[in-house]
Subunit: 347 residues, 3 copies
């Protein structure tokens, strides 16, 4: 990355104050930016911006007595995103072309400009569409499909018959299409129910590192377009996640559980099997949901309840020492009036 | 898969009603089955079965006015299992033979009909028995043993000296035999305790995707025959899991913890180190167990207690708003009788 | 391993009682040790030691009527550590040299005696320093650095620009340097914020199997020297973990959260984003921390509070049945005195 301040100003459509010829080579945070860096400041950080050693700072309004050059722009963070995207493209280590050690099965179809990293393995009759990127040591099974511009990072395992859409990102060490966890109890033993369904992942989906998405027993486990799933999450067999839902780290969905659109599961949320959450539901951090809830529900706790009920409950539990004290005093007062022979017991 | 309805009827030993010559090519769920599919219906779904577009439905009793052919059989789901097994065999992407890119160390012994996928690595002096299947990009260390008919999916890591029995299944991205987490505190630093034990996994064990089973500090971490472990579970050093126990997703066992036979840990259950659960114990979802319990205990909660105690506690906590109200009213009543100079405080 | 009892005695600097010529070939636990084994006994296990079938037992004081030879030494466990280290060196399956199937990108620099296992992949311009060991099927990205004597086990994924210090250990199936989980909400969609920072891991760090350490959005996610992290843990973007902190299994740190030095997170502890714990903080098992706490805090619960408060709360909640009973009796007593027309309601 090597841009003049003027070039950055033009790119983001802002107003330049300071030296347009200075050269920028890196993006950095406001706290750490130094010479050669471009950074940005939100309105509440303008004081810190004034003393920044960065070469140039994107700001929402002109700052007095600022050492660095400044570019005034409506939404500095959003403008800064463009610079981040540029930096990402230059920094990232996408493999290019098909590495000679990649192994292709029979009948594999590769689109234009597909990249297969070293030791990537693609099973028989799988199709990888244009510009998809598969990193080293990733294994893709037979009869799979990977959409255009999708990126699959290294050491991912994708089992047979899995379909992944376009512009999706699968991070490293994910397991996609592993068997669902299903057994019949026969004479005290667990007899495996073969899992012959599959997994369908839509467009613009992102799945974090070390996630597992199990194949359906029958039919499909479905991740709809625009869904974002954070690291260590687990989507069991036959789940469905509606469009644009977001699951933060360690989300756990039991078998056949269904999320509507735009659902938000905060970190460490568990959903039991065979339930559903309607569109726009929100489950707060560490919530464990054990029944279905209608659209728009906002939940918290174990077992999860409406957030206002859970918060009230937390307050009442915290006040228990006071309550016990009050009850003890009430008891004393009554005993004094009633005499010893009638006095109530405990606590 | 290509079977006539008559052939399916003969396979499951049922009574045919309808066209025996129709051809079936897929298995499907009752909700999604269409022409060319075989499905099944439990007793409570017979209404839905009547209007199914499947070619044939396995049913527990004859259904009137049914469009599809029907095969009447005692336990339709159990009979359907046979068809699932057939479909699984045809669909799955097991590698065959030893791929030329597989790497075998010195003194490796391979049984009959062993399959090693592309880029699989087998360490020195390891033995892989007859018909075992190792998927691509899986790494097996030195001095290991993999039993007959065992399947290890792709991108699994197995460290040195690990023993795995017969007909077991290890799903993708598992880590078997990683070091146990043990340190001595010496002058404020953590000094690693070398982990020189190993892991022994029995017959008919299934271990889900992205599980970790740590090697013992000394001796062995043991998973007995018939144990089933779901995704993202963690079995620490020196644990022992008794026969036919089942651990649902995110089971966590601290070091040296022991489970008896036929234990059931529901999803997201954690057990601290150095405790034991007797035969047949059940821990409900999200339970955190911090002491030992005898055989047959049924537990729930954090910290886990007997399920009836936990359930009663949940109810009492939910009723706290009412209790606070009652105590407030009691206080008011007493104050009216006792007069202001004697009135109790709070809550 | 093949040592005489005398050689062991000399190695640990103890006092020998018994046959110094007997030969030891293995280390074992006191419970399982037999002929040919060396083991150790803490003071409280001396009775068991007396009947041990081991060839030799390290003991803190001389034991009467002991069948095995004994070596009396100040701290038997600590002395036994030396034997464990010896056993570990002999047993472990470290690859040696650069395997012909390892793939090196352009400009890779390898130090002296580096080992690269089969199918290991090292990206362009990455440096691997002296004596570092990379196991099979591990993928290292471009512009990375791996320090002297560091060991990276198999099937690990390390993304671009990650720096790892000296004598560190990364266990199998870890994902280091995956994208942080960050999006801007734009017109109801999640727009990815490119993650262009990186990860820096210090010296003497150990990271368990299947952990994920995300790269920073900007700047670095930092794991300082001497930190030990157990399996299945997740360190989000821009976190910092101070020296010698220890995180037991399933530790979860939200984005930009900071730990001081010598912090201890017990198993299954979650920290939300943008908070900090000061030096020496301890969070008990399953604690969920949702605000910052000063140095030395000892926390427990969901949401976490000071351990003494949480423990008192647990006791009070367990006593609720008694409290309800008391309130019911108080109500009855008052009703008897006040008469029906004034009686309070509930619970």
């Amino acid at each position: 990355m090597r841009l003049s301040v003027s070039e950055i100003c033009e790119m983001v459509g802002g107003e330049l104050v300071g030296d347009g010829d200075a050269v920028v080579e890196r993006v950095a945070s406001l706290a750490n930016a130094g010479p050669g860096d471009v950074t940005f400041a939100k309105r509440r950080h303008l004081k810190a911006a004034a003393s920044s050693k960065a070469t140039v700072v994107l700001v929402p309004e002109r700052v007095q007595d600022m050492a660095a050059a400044q570019i005034v722009v409506g939404n500095p963070y959003f403008s800064f995103l463009k610079l981040l995207q540029l930096a990402e493209q230059e920094q990232r280590g996408h493999p290019r072309g098909v590495h000679p050690t990649a192994v292709l099965g029979e009948g594999v179809q590769l689109g234009k400009d597909v990249a297969l990293g070293a030791h990537a393995v693609v099973g028989d009759r799988t199709t990888i569409h244009d510009r998809a990127v598969i990193y080293p040591n990733t294994s893709i099974g037979v009869y799979c499909e990977v959409g255009e511009d999708t990126v699959i990072y290294s050491n991912v395992s994708i089992r047979e018959c899995v379909k992944i859409g376009r512009r999706s990102i699968i991070h490293s060490c994910c397991s996609i299409g592993g068997d669902g966890f299903g057994y019949l109890q026969v004479e005290g033993k667990h007899v495996k129910i073969p899992q012959v369904g599959t997994v369908e992942i839509g467009d613009d989906v992102e799945i974090g590192c070390n996630c597992t998405i199990d194949r359906a027993t029958l039919d499909e486990t479905v991740i709809e377009d625009g869904v974002k799933i954070d690291n260590h999450s687990h989507i069991a067999h036959n789940c469905r996640i509606g469009e644009n839902s977001m699951l933060i780290a360690y989300a756990r969905m039991g078998g056949s559980t269904v999320l509507g659109k735009n659902v938000l599961l905060a970190e460490d949320v568990g959903l039991t099997n065979d339930i559903s959450l309607g569109d726009g539901c929100i489950v707060g951090g560490c919530g464990k949901v054990s029944r279905s809830w209608p659209a728009g529900s906002v939940l918290l706790g174990t077992p999860a309840q409406r957030m206002e009920d859970e918060k009230r409950q937390i307050v009442l539990v915290k006040k228990l020492p006071r309550l016990y004290e009050t009850v003890r005093e009430l008891k004393r007062s009554i005993e004094q009036k009633l005499g010893a022979d009638e006095k109530p017991k405990g606590p």
